[in-house]
Structure formats: structure tokens, C-alpha cells
């Protein structure tokens, strides 16, 4: 065998070994073979089972909340400076598109105090611009830069909170990352192998705003009864909230309402920790939380001054329980009446991760159960093997010993493809498996092109060696042309597609590139080797 042929053969051998290693490493047993395979080849969610979610942070919630805080602060400041006013309110943007239109209106500022008002805004609320509506009313809008910063911060904080909650669940390799353009406020979450997607979605979407509020009156059987007890008008700075208390067994009590103070004594931000615990007396499950030092002191003062009154534990604007304060409590509290250990620990997890600054909307969800994933893998493998068998049989029958050539190149093609997927960390999806099967069909195309050309040259009377030469040479550019066109459409598919479709584009493209190598280079080397073994008149079985 000539030198160059030897080098080429060695090169191919190295590639083959490298690829085999890339797929299964060095297994010492059948079990290890399977586990290595699983390690190297990442399966997509449609094969492994799991959830793919696109969430959208409803930033307008945070914008509204910020405006509310500004209004509170403004009231205090105006009072402190003795600037009279008639009313302060805001508009109510409900969608993301409307968020930028947030506006606070202050009415009834006497015109002689206008300059004081303007100075106050510039000093205390530098992120807001004021414009006069008329001689005594003003409009406040947020500066664009500050607005944009607020929205981005909201998304970042939501991202962190969701990340913290998901990571607390112990799922394997979840993906949580920003998605889409800067004004889309979207988050991509991928949860491979999750077997209870509804629970996870709930954990992610719960705003989990915890507030401890002073109870001013109740329980009442309805909102009207609550109002009636105060002559139809609520006391200053209070609100009526519904109670969703549950008894010891976890069953819901009949509907009741309380009047509570609007300003909370303690909020979720004051929590230091939270964990699930089992009530000693009735074996019910509850979530205990502990407070930071400052909050603890505040809480101690409050409870001391309010022994005998009720304290409302409010979660997401609904009262979970309203126990009577027995004595001074310094730094902890309990939410009782949870249905199971899982519910208690989920709540503890949510409290620990902090509340979400804005509500989360699910824009897109694709969930595949693990059973369907296994079914899909099986179907993919069966159809792949069937297709491969059909092609192999045909090539051997039609091209005789040269067919072996093509079959070897084909197997190498598939091995290179799988190894490339492993090395690039690409994901194999169900359409990806279809891509592998399609690659098999198209890989054979190259071989057929070359072999048909060789046959033609042989018919035209050339010698075997010359025919093989001419066959490969003339077919080469056509092979390049055909592969380039399919790769071009794969490229567009990759650019525009998502998830499974991308998997298809990637496997098809890699398969085609590998095919150029195997059909032209490897196949040629095998032919040359065959021919170099024959000393006299060469014969070709084709």
C-alpha cells in the first residue's frame, strides 16, 4: 500500500475511534455503556419528558406598585410641608403596552404653593416629571430612563426569584434565562424530567406577597356586613379582605371577611427564613417563618401593644388565618392549616425566595410526559433501523461489493453525526431523529452519484482505476452543490425555528457535512485500498 494511502487510512481510523469515544466513552459494562450514552447525548424535552415554558413578566404590576408607593410618600411629604391638596390618584395601566403611560394626578394645590410643590418633586422624586394640567392640578409622569430601568429591574428580580424557587425543588438541570428582545420581558424556563408540571407552574407563578396586618374588625359573613358595622364607610387607611382559613383538617371554613389596616406591620421582605413543621397537637402541617432582627423588634412592639386583638396573616391579598395575639411575639410566626407536608414545604420555599415584584403570565407551554417521551424514542429508533435496513440491503444487492463500501461510509456517517452532537453539546429531539433518518437517505445519494458515474465511465471503456478516478472527480462538484442547497434551507430553519425544529436543522446539517467527508474521502480510500490489493488487471465489483 502506498504511503499516502496508509496515512489516509490511519487518519480515518483516528476519526472513527474519536467518534466512538465521543458517543460511548470507554464502557466497562453494558450498564455503563447505557449511562455513558445518556451522558454524552443530550435528549430534548420531547424525548426525555419535561416542560418548556415561556413566561412574561407583567411589568405593569411593578410600575403600578411603584406609583402607589410614590403616592403614599407624596401624601406624607405634602402634609409635612403643610401643602394642602384635594386628591392624589393614578391611572390604571393593565397591560404591558400601557405600562409606560403611568400617570399620577395631584389636584387642589393652591397656585401660590406651586413653586414649593415643584421644588418638592424635584427634591424627593427626581425620577418623575411634572406638568401642569391647570392652575391647581399637576400631572406626574415617570422619566423614560427611570421607567425603563424599573422594568428591567423587575424582570431581573423576577428571574432571580423564579430561579431560587426552581432550584429549591431539586430538579435536574433546569434552564431559567431571559428570552427575546428587551421590550418583551420574557423568561424561558426548561424543566427536563419534571413529573408534576402543574405544581411547578404554581410555584413559579405565585406572587407570594406576605403581609401581617392589624385586624380592625371581624369576622363578618359578607362584605356588606363588614361595611354595615361601620355605618357603611370604612375607617381611614383600611380595607376589607376575604379569609381563606382552613380548619385543622385542611378543609376550608365558610366564607368570612375581615376589616384590616391597609399598611402591613410585617411584609415578606422582613423574613429571615421559613420552613415546614408539623403541629405537635393535631399533626397538621404548617409553615413557620422567622423575622429579621429589625422586623423582630417592630413585631415585638406591635404584639405587645395588641394583646387580645387579632393579627391577619395575609398571603397574596387573602387572609390565611387571623389568630388572636396571646402575648408578645418577638421574631416568628406560623401559617397553619396546610394540607400536606408538600404544601407546607412548597410554601416555605416560596417565602424563602421572596415575593415576585410582578405577576407572571405563561405565554407558551409545551409539556411532554415521560411516558410519551419513551414512546417517541422507541418509534424513532424502530423507523430508523427499518430505513437503514432497507437502504443497506438495496445497496448491497444493487452495487454488490462496492455496496459494502457505501454501507461502511454510511455507518461512519451516523457515528460521526452522533459524536458531533455529543461534542457540541447539541440536543437530540424527535425531529432530530427524523433528521438522522433523512441523512441516511441523502447520504446514500452521494454514493449513488459516484457509483453511477463510475459505471458510466466503465461502460465508456475506461480502465477500472481511471473510471474510479473520473467517477469521484466528476461527481464531486455535484455533491457539493446538492449538499449546499439543503444546508442553506437548514440554516434558515435553524434561524427561525425553536427547540425541536432547531434540533432537526442541526442534525441534518451536521449529517450532510459529515457525509461529504465519508462519501468522498472515506469511500475513495476504501476503493483505493481495494484496488491496491489487486496486482494485475484490476476488477471492480460494482
Amino acid at each position: 500500500m502506498s504511503r499516502s494511502l496508509l496515512y489516509k487510512a490511519i487518519f480515518i481510523l483516528v476519526v472513527v475511534l474519536g467518534c466512538i469515544y465521543g458517543v460511548i466513552e470507554v464502557p466497562r459494562s453494558k450498564a455503563e455503556l447505557l449511562s455513558n450514552l445518556q451522558k454524552r447525548i443530550h435528549l430534548g424535552l420531547d424525548l426525555k419528558g419535561g416542560s418548556h415554558l415561556i413566561l412574561q413578566v407583567q411589568v405593569q404590576d411593578a410600575v403600578r406598585a411603584t406609583a402607589d408607593q410614590v403616592i403614599e410618600q407624596l401624601r406624607t411629604d405634602l402634609n409635612r410641608q403643610n401643602i394642602p391638596y384635594t386628591s392624589i390618584d393614578r391611572n390604571d395601566p393593565q397591560t404591558i403596552e400601557q405600562a409606560d403611560s403611568i400617570e399620577i394626578r395631584v389636584r387642589g394645590i393652591p397656585s401660590e404653593r406651586s413653586s414649593d410643590f415643584k421644588a418638592l418633586i424635584e427634591d424627593r422624586f427626581p425620577e418623575w416629571l411634572y406638568t401642569p394640567i391647570d392652575s391647581t392640578s399637576w400631572r406626574l409622569n415617570m422619566k423614560p430612563a427611570a421607567l425603563s430601568q424599573l422594568k428591567q429591574d423587575t424582570v431581573q428580580q423576577s428571574l432571580r426569584t423564579i430561579d431560587s424557587r426552581i432550584n429549591g425543588l431539586g430538579l435536574t438541570e433546569p434552564t431559567i434565562q431571559p428570552y427575546g428582545g428587551p421590550d418583551e420581558y420574557r423568561i424561558l424556563v426548561q424543566l427536563p424530567g419534571v413529573d408534576d408540571p402543574a405544581r411547578v407552574k404554581e410555584i413559579m407563578q405565585t406572587t407570594a406577597l406576605l403581609e401581617l396586618k392589624q385586624v380592625l374588625g371581624g369576622p363578618y359573613p359578607s362584605v356588606d356586613a363588614a361595611l354595615a358595622s361601620h355605618g357603611g364607610v370604612l375607617p381611614e387607611n383600611s380595607e376589607v379582605l376575604r379569609s381563606v382559613e382552613r380548619g385543622d383538617t385542611g378543609q376550608q371554613s365558610p366564607e368570612s371577611w375581615y376589616i384590616v389596616s391597609r399598611t402591613p406591620v410585617i411584609t415578606g421582605r422582613d423574613l429571615r427564613n421559613a420552613r415546614e413543621a408539623q403541629n405537635g397537637t393535631n399533626r397538621g402541617w404548617e409553615t413557620e417563618f422567622s423575622l429579621s432582627v429589625d422586623a423582630g423588634q417592630r413585631f415585638a412592639r406591635f404584639t405587645e401593644a395588641n394583646v387580645g386583638n387579632r393579627l391577619a396573616i395575609v398571603l397574596d391579598h387573602k387572609i390565611r388565618s387571623a389568630p388572636v395575639i396571646q402575648s408578645r411575639i418577638e421574631d416568628h410566626g406560623t401559617i397553619e392549616g396546610l394540607r400536606s407536608q408538600q404544601e407546607a414545604s412548597d410554601l416555605a420555599l416560596i417565602l424563602r425566595s421572596g415575593s415576585l415584584p410582578a405577576s407572571i403570565l405563561v405565554l407558551e407551554e409545551r409539556t411532554v410526559g415521560p411516558s410519551l417521551g419513551a414512546d417517541s424514542i422507541r418509534a424513532g429508533i424502530i423507523s430508523g433501523l427499518a430505513g437503514l435496513a432497507a437502504v443497506v440491503i438495496f445497496m448491497l444487492v444493487y452495487y454488490k461489493r462496492s455496496g459494502i463500501n457505501a454501507v461502511l461510509a454510511l455507518f461512519l456517517n451516523v457515528v460521526i453525526l452522533l459524536a458531533a452532537l455529543g461534542y457540541f453539546g447539541a440536543t437530540l429531539t424527535l425531529p432530530g431523529i427524523a433528521g438522522v433518518i433523512l441523512t441516511i437517505g441523502m447520504a446514500v445519494d452521494s454514493n449513488v452519484l459516484i457509483f453511477e458515474r463510475i459505471r458510466e465511465e466503465l461502460r465508456a471503456g475506461k480502465t477500472v482505476v481511471a473510471a474510479v478516478d473520473a467517477g469521484f472527480e466528476k461527481a464531486f462538484l455535484t455533491i457539493i452543490d446538492t449538499h449546499v442547497t439543503t444546508i442553506v434551507s437548514s440554516a434558515f430553519l435553524f434561524l427561525f425555528g425553536t427547540g425541536p425544529v432547531r434540533g432537526f436543522a442541526v442534525t441534518l446539517s451536521i449529517g450532510l457535512v459529515a457525509n461529504v467527508f465519508t462519501a468522498v474521502f472515506v469511500s475513495r480510500v476504501i476503493f483505493d485500498w481495494e484496488l491496491s490489493r489487486q496486482h494485475q488487471v484490476a476488477e471492480l465489483s460494482i
Partner: protein, 403 residues
């Protein structure tokens, strides 16, 4: 064995018949599209909720529909899925607004429970995660008294869930006794399961929820991607050959796409993201056949300068016929295998490819070439001074490694 050697079919003389056939097929598809108001878009493009439900027995379609209506989800589409013995039904609900999407799935599950039965105080064994199952078992008085540790209980729960999810159970266990073959599952566990859980009559292997805005975005992107791909190929071929070859090739591929989409409409099949993937692949693949023939045409134009165009193209097609039929045939075999064995999820995808390969091969011969001939004939009539022989433009620029 050699097939199709030295054939001499006169393809192009019958070109009007074949053009007629193309037009007829395209029209059938287009009429179907118009009558049905456009292609049947899958949920990827329409937006809405899609829930695949697998039942223990034949799905009670009427009861399910009634329950869905009762819960406010009118106009939902129920469609049996895959083979009848799989007992699966696909429920599709359109939705106009993103917010409703978030509650829809819960409503659907509630409706399904109403239609097929549920036991509210017990855990649904067939839809529970391992953690929830372990939780229930731990709290059961019998198990709590037994010597099993928490970790052991979790392991047993995981075993049971994995058993439930593998084929042939595929998500549904029909009776508790089956589980006793698993390690660690003793009679205590079985009786605890019977107390704390029930065997839910259905499971939900697949959920897809797509917001309407996302759907519209995807629609736009799909159309753009297809147009760009076609444009890209036009440029590539115009660069490698002449621009008329590019136009002819793109026209042929365009014809393939129209016929395929038309057939989808005729057979009432859905167009989803993966179907678009198949169409784009088709676009690339159909070019292959066309290019191989054009390659030959170019080579022959150089070699046989005295031949007239129509017989020359005929000859080129005949020369490449064996290769064209063989590769299309082989690719068709693999795609057919996908269609027959690849499962329901890939059904649309493989159907598009099966149809596409047949139509694509056909169009390279009977659509691309006639267009070439027609155009060359038109340009010929303008150059009356020259004879009927055409000279290939810029042949000198080609490398002699030609074909």
C-alpha cells in the same frame, strides 16, 4: 444488476400532458385551500390549548364534550389520536386572550375529571409525581408505623412512578396488584395505596399552550423563512449556472410546496412547526434533483454544440435518470419508514416528506426543464440571426474539472 441504463424516454414531447397534470393538482389543492379558508394551522400558529388525553378505556367523547361545555369551554375540538387501541383523544381549545390560557389547562383537567370520574380526597396515582406519592404514603398510619425510612419510601415511590411511565403501561396503571412485582412493594404498601390513592381513569401525556401573539409571530416567521430560503437558493443557482436556471428551479420547488400544502388541505391534515420544517427540507432536497439534471445539461451543452436544446435536455434527463430514480427511491424508503413506524407525533412531518419527495422528483423533470426550454425558445426567437444552436454563456469561466 443495473436498471435504467441507456434509456431513451422522450419526456419532453409529452410535456403539455405533464404540465396539465401539475396544473390540475395545484388547482385541486388551491381550491381546497380557498374552500376551507386557508390551511389548517396547528396550535403553533393559531394559538390555543392542546391537551392529549390517554384513557384507560375508550374515551367517552360525548361526556367529555358536555363537561367542557359546562365549564365554559365551548367550541372545543375533540379528535381521536393515533390507533384506536391507544384510547387517546386530542382536545383543542382556541383562545383569543393570553390570560385565559393560564387557567384553561386547569379547567380542562377539571372537566375531564367530571366526565370520567375522580375521588377528591385521594391522590390520583396515575397523575402523581413521585414526591407527592411518597408524601401520601408517609402520612398513612399503616406505613408510618412500619420500619420503612423516609428515603426508602421515596425510592419505592420513584420505582412505582417509573414503572407506570414505561411502555406498555405508558402512564396508566390498571390495577394496584401489578405493582407488587416491584422491589420493596409489600402488601402494606399496596393497602396504603388503596386507602390513600385511586387509579385515575386518564393521564395527560402532552400539553401545548401557545398564546395568540406567539402564534402570529410564528406564522410570520414561517412564511419569511420559506421565502428567504427560496431566495437564497435562487441566488446560489444563478451564481453556479445562469439566472434562468435559478428561476426554473425555484419555480419547480414553489410548485412542489403548493401541491404539498394543497394536499394537506385536501386530507385535512394540520400544519404545525414540524411540518414547516419538512417543507423547508423539501425545498432544499427538491433542488438536488434539479441541479443534477442541470449539471448534465450544462456539460452536454459544452460537448454537443450542434444539438438542439429540446433533444439535448431530453438526453440529459435520460442520462441522469437512473441516478434520480435511485436516490429519490432510497430517500423515499427511509421517509416511508418514518411515516409507517415513526409514531403519531411525526405524522404530519413524514407525510409532508413522503408527498414532497414524489412531487419534487417529478417537478425536476417535468416542470424545471420545460420552463428552461420555453425561456430559451423565447430568447432564441429574439436572436434570429443566430442558428438554433445555443452557446452556453460563460462556459470559459468554468474550471475544467467539469462533469
Amino acid at each position: 444488476m443495473q436498471l435504467l441504463v441507456n434509456t431513451n424516454f422522450d419526456f419532453l414531447s409529452k410535456k403539455f400532458f405533464f404540465i396539465g397534470l401539475s396544473v390540475a393538482l395545484s388547482l385541486a389543492g388551491i381550491i381546497s385551500l380557498i374552500v376551507k379558508g386557508g390551511p389548517r394551522y396547528g396550535i403553533d400558529f393559531r394559538g390555543g390549548t392542546l391537551v392529549l388525553v390517554k384513557c384507560m378505556d375508550k374515551p367517552p367523547l360525548d361526556k367529555i364534550r358536555a363537561a367542557l361545555d359546562r365549564n365554559g369551554l365551548k367550541g372545543s375540538v375533540l379528535q381521536p389520536y393515533d390507533r384506536p387501541e391507544m384510547n387517546e383523544v386530542l382536545i383543542g381549545v382556541d383562545i383569543a386572550d393570553e390570560r385565559a390560557l393560564n387557567t384553561e389547562r386547569g379547567t380542562i383537567i377539571k372537566a375531564l375529571q367530571e366526565a370520567m370520574g375522580s375521588e377528591p380526597n385521594k391522590l390520583d396515582f396515575n397523575n402523581a409525581g413521585a414526591a407527592a406519592l411518597a408524601d401520601r404514603l408517609r402520612n398513612n398510619p399503616v406505613i408510618a408505623r412500619s420500619p420503612l425510612t423516609s428515603a426508602q419510601i421515596e425510592r419505592i415511590a420513584q420505582e412505582m412512578v417509573t414503572y407506570r411511565n414505561t411502555p406498555p403501561r405508558s402512564g396508566l396503571v390498571k390495577n394496584f396488584e401489578e405493582l407488587s412485582s416491584l422491589p420493596g412493594v409489600n402488601p402494606d404498601i399496596i393497602s396504603a395505596l388503596k386507602t390513600e390513592t385511586y387509579l385515575g381513569p386518564f393521564t395527560v401525556p402532552r400539553v401545548e399552550i401557545v398564546g395568540p401573539k406567539v402564534g402570529k409571530d410564528l406564522q410570520r416567521q414561517a412564511i419569511l423563512a420559506t421565502l428567504y430560503a427560496l431566495g437564497g437558493m435562487l441566488v446560489y443557482i444563478a451564481f453556479r449556472f445562469e439566472w434562468i436556471y435559478g428561476v426554473a428551479a425555484v419555480a419547480a420547488v414553489f410548485h412542489d410546496v403548493i401541491i404539498t400544502v394543497g394536499l394537506f388541505s385536501l386530507f385535512n391534515k394540520e400544519i404545525s412547526l414540524t411540518v414547516i420544517a419538512a417543507l423547508l427540507t423539501l425545498v432544499g432536497y427538491s433542488m438536488n434533483d434539479t441541479i443534477v439534471i442541470f449539471d448534465r445539461v450544462r456539460e452536454n451543452l459544452k460537448l454537443m454544440r450542434r444539438m438542439e436544446l429540446e433533444p439535448l435536455i431530453n438526453l440529459s434527463i435520460n442520462q441522469t435518470l437512473s441516478r434520480t430514480i435511485l436516490t429519490s427511491g432510497l430517500t423515499f424508503l427511509t421517509v416511508l419508514s418514518l411515516f409507517l413506524f415513526g409514531g403519531e407525533v411525526l405524522n404530519g412531518f413524514s407525510f409532508a416528506l413522503v408527498v414532497g419527495i414524489i412531487v419534487g422528483t417529478y417537478s425536476s423533470v417535468f416542470v424545471a426543464s420545460p420552463i428552461l426550454i420555453w425561456w430559451k425558445g423565447v430568447t432564441e426567437k429574439r436572436r434570429t440571426a443566430k442558428g438554433p444552436v445555443l452557446v452556453e454563456k460563460a462556459a470559459g469561466r468554468r474550471k475544467v474539472a467539469g462533469r
